[in-house]
């Protein structure tokens, strides 16, 4: 186990049942602050279910999901918070959230966990820029005094809106979509929609970004660009939780990998260790064709 001070998210004894089906079975792992933590495993292993529990889309059958903000000393309140009935506790310079007690919108708004989806869920009829403005809704509502000050034309709202547009613009630059700012999001090609979904999640100002198969449907070149984007997000200090089947993404950018099979953890460690783990090879990776590895090496040389 990593030192408690580094831990951002603790998943403990998470179990999720759907009727008689146990999708996630007594799963425990930790994600460190500033790390890219990958969750991999065969199809149907329960990866997306774990995401849905962390982000409040599902209420877990059992288990504790604790997230820290700010100072690591906040972990000291964990047992007290668990014993009490509250969702969160705040201390000097830090806070602790029990995600399993929170509905999805509060996980996003208060615990500041943002996510993307396996099947892209943008607002397809809104423009690219509008999608990025909606992401900043909570901040803008606050600035507009829940509409009132905005309607009355207070200058604070105008300033907040300009700042929101500025933030959206800088993200458009970063994901290379400035030229498409006014096009409906649904008209963008698949790869661009994926990047826009990441930018939209980032504009909710998260402390943890959960990405469900962000490289699906991308070609090797686009996957490499995604790697750059995710590494730059990590360099900004953000922590990422990643579900992905593209090993050229997972193995190159992850700090830590957790492997699930049939809802149970079968491996947990650094990429090099996971890649050579026999259970992971048997259940998930399979044996790599020699010539594929050779061509990939050739192409990267």
């Amino acid at each position: 186990m990593p030192a408690a001070a580094d831990i951002l998210l603790r998943v403990e004894h998470l179990t999720m049942r759907f009727g008689g089906l146990v999708a996630v079975d007594d799963l425990s792992f930790s994600a460190r602050q500033g790390d890219i933590t990958a969750l991999i495993g065969p199809n149907g292993a329960g990866k997306t279910t774990v995401f849905n529990c962390i982000t409040g889309f599902y209420k877990p059958s059992e288990g504790r999901l604790a997230l820290r903000h700010g100072d690591a000393a906040a972990w000291g309140a964990l047992e007290t918070l668990t014993a009490g009935g509250k969702r969160s506790s705040k201390a000097d310079g830090g806070a602790l959230y029990l995600l399993e007690r929170m509905p999805d919108y509060l996980v996003a708004q208060q615990a500041r966990v943002a996510r993307t989806f396996q099947n892209i869920r943008l607002f397809p009829g809104m423009t690219v820029l509008e999608n990025l403005m909606v992401a900043q809704h909570n901040r803008l509502m606050l600035a507009s005094g829940y509409t009132l000050l905005g309607v009355l034309g207070f200058p604070s709202y105008g300033a907040a809106e300009r700042a929101a547009i500025e933030r959206a613009r800088s993200w458009l630059d970063r994901i290379g979509l400035t030229a498409r700012a006014d096009d409906p999001a649904g008209d963008l090609p698949y790869g661009a929609q994926r990047r826009l979904e990441i930018a939209r999640a980032m504009l909710t100002d998260p402390v943890l970004l959960c990405l469900d198969e962000p490289a699906a449907g991308l070609n090797p070149r686009e996957s490499a660009e995604l790697n750059e984007l995710l590494l730059s997000i990590r360099a900004d200090g953000l922590s990422i939780l990643l579900i992905e089947h593209d090993m050229s993404v997972v193995m190159q950018i992850s700090d830590h990998i957790v492997v699930l099979d049939y809802g149970v953890k079968i491996a947990d460690g650094a990429p090099a260790a996971v890649r050579s783990d026999e259970k992971v090879i048997a259940a998930y990776l399979g044996v790599e064709d020699e010539d594929v590895a050779q061509v990939e090496a050739e192409v990267r040389a």
């Binding site: 997306t48 090797p220 686009e222 089947h245």
Partner: protein, 241 residues
């Protein structure tokens, strides 16, 4: 020289006023595996969908097995045993896995059903475990397996696969590509494949086409295309590392 099984000539497809396909020419011969590669947004899926008549080509001709299917309704095209596993899966989410497979088999001879079912469940053992579950409760990758299996249940004369590897574990991707190769070699199944993993696709295919902005810009054998530097650069290379 026999006529190709599928022949696409001068096809133009529009979304509103936007021309997505700008005059596409391509052929698939019986018994071949042909792949189409290209960047996101190039029009690959649009070509797949246009072949199935949704959206319809505004100009040009699509001929399947000697019949002009350009203006034919989609369900009649399906009855000619042209089956597609579409991008985004599009399984029937309220039907069970078995019912989805039965839907795929409606255009096939019912005498073959049991044997075909056994064959696709052998290919995807995961679906066997889920056979009575509703499609919508499957994981994303399992839905992708179901979409491919459903298309195979049609006993297609031409199988259109739009990104079959999407969302699948590496070991399953390998199994699918092996299965396509085996079905092609043993039963002569003709396959038209769109795939982001250009290396795997070109290695599997007899021939390949490259699409850029709604036009075919290159054609050749899988091996020839693999060796072209511009292909390597655009679709294979992992960028700067």
């Amino acid at each position: 020289m026999t006529a190709p099984l599928l022949s696409v000539r001068g096809v133009k497809t529009f979304y509103g006023r936007v021309m997505a396909l700008k005059g596409v020419d391509m052929d698939v011969n019986a018994g071949e595996i042909v792949t189409l590669i290209g960047a996101n947004g190039a029009g690959k899926s649009t070509l797949m969908m246009t072949i199935c008549g949704n959206p319809r080509a505004r100009e040009g001709a699509i001929v399947f097995d000697g019949r002009d299917i350009t203006q034919m309704p989609t369900h009649e095209i399906a009855r000619l045993k042209l089956a597609q596993s579409p991008e985004g899966r599009r399984i029937f989410s309220r039907m069970t896995v078995l019912e989805n497979l039965q839907m795929g088999a409606t255009v096939a001879d019912s005498a073959d059903f049991d044997a075909d079912l056994e064959r696709v469940l052998g290919l995807f053992p995961r679906l066997k475990q889920r056979i009575g579950q509703r499609g919508g409760t499957l994981s994303g990758g399992e839905q992708q397996m179901l979409a491919i299996a459903r298309a195979l249940m049609a006993r297609p004369r031409l199988l259109l696969l739009d990104e079959p590897s999407l969302g699948l574990a590496p070991i399953i991707v390998r199994q699918i590509f092996d299965a396509i190769r085996t079905l092609n070699a043993e039963t002569g199944l003709t396959v038209f494949l769109v795939e982001q993993n250009a290396y795997h696709a070109l290695k599997l295919a007899h021939r390949g086409y490259v699409m850029v902005n709604g036009l075919i810009t290159l054609a050749g054998s899988g091996r020839e295309l693999l060796e072209r530097p511009e292909i390597r650069q655009a679709y294979l290379e992992g960028g700067a590392h």
